[in-house]
Subunit: 264 residues, 2 copies
Amino acid sequence: MSNRLTRILTAIAAMPPVIAGIIWLNDIMFFLVLLLLILGGTWEFYRFLTADGKPLLAFPVMTGAVLIPAGFFLGGTSGALFGLYIASAMVFVIKLFGKAPLDDTYEHLSVSMIAIMYYPFFMSFFIPLREIDFHWLFYLCAIIWFSDSFAYFIGVMFGKRKMYELISPKKSMEGLAGGFIGGITGAFLYAHFFMEISLVHVLISSVLLTGAGVVGDLVESMFKRKSGIKDSGTVFPGHGGILDRTDSIAFAAPVLYFYVMLAV
Amino acid sequence: MSNRLTRILTAIAAMPPVIAGIIWLNDIMFFLVLLLLILGGTWEFYRFLTADGKPLLAFPVMTGAVLIPAGFFLGGTSGALFGLYIASAMVFVIKLFGKAPLDDTYEHLSVSMIAIMYYPFFMSFFIPLREIDFHWLFYLCAIIWFSDSFAYFIGVMFGKRKMYELISPKKSMEGLAGGFIGGITGAFLYAHFFMEISLVHVLISSVLLTGAGVVGDLVESMFKRKSGIKDSGTVFPGHGGILDRTDSIAFAAPVLYFYVMLAV
């Protein structure tokens, strides 16, 4: 069974608990579930880096994976910056006072920093989005899920021209077009039934979010190819890991947050 | 003339324009001057990295060096997060769609990310500090300048035990103690004459800021040693570069911002 079909079936299976979680969990429980997800995804990315022989400072990375979402949860945007500062400063301090501060200095520091930014920072935007209105989370999920499904089925049926063979050989341009049609469809359906936003905002935001999702998916494919890893993990048995299932949504969540803040 | 004495003399020479700038420049001019400083410092750090053979993506780095302070200036903490997100996402996107996305993937990405975080992110905290009250900037400068001066003179007079020979062979434990005494003295003097904050806050914040300044100084020394560079640049003829003169203050600025937000 192909990875994309697996993803779609996992998404369908995951829908009831995710929907229930977003609506019924109280703020603290939602935060804790998200925190587990972030820690798990960060751990998977840690494995990507070590598989490619990159040494990193685990303590500041895990601190960032906790403090950035916790900062958002407790102190909003200012709190998120606090988490980012503490984790970044800790990268420098631990390298400086650790053993061998002059060995692989930039590599150690840099690889640790990217592990703080790649997943924890991006995923943390679920918290302010839910605080604005939990419908935005469903809106985001609707776009990503519809986009994935359309991309898969249209790709299977009509796919001819390769989209980016080096990174993701199975994806086609036809599937990409289908993904955008799906993303826009999902957005219109969700907004029509559950939200009050203008059609222009639905159109612009769904195109932006689908695009961000496609990029997030390709970025994770680039990492997996580079590290020679097939699935990011085995959290969902037979269905890959946390990064596999959330690569698109992690890239799209901040886009939606800033779109809502700036435009809606 | 030693580097530390040079720094003190430069600081004294820089005082009148810095004081005038902080007080009399309007917001936009202050932002533009700070932006120039950030761009210059980021360029110097870029040279550190290339001197050590580290390849990085210049475009997202310079985008971050503009967008993070601009975000703070135009949109506060939320704007800063926006700048961070755009610059980080751009790192991934440019690597993904550039030539050879699978060559040196993690190194390229990571080194670019650290160049975004190290200097632009930390230095941008001058903007919200000035918005709260420009006296905080003077307070910060007073601590760093007094701390540097005391550390130098007490180090020269009484310095015996090495502080961290591998990284900064000229510094002594006696100088470090002098630095803390100087930082606390500077804070008490400035707060006594110009501000209304409790002695407890002055004591705690001056110790924290002096400590952050010492760490920032050592981190830059670690970088210079690793890259085999003596001065970070030649912006101040004979006096080193921008990073040399702002390494301490860049690390201390976010600490002061969060201290003011959380405690004062």
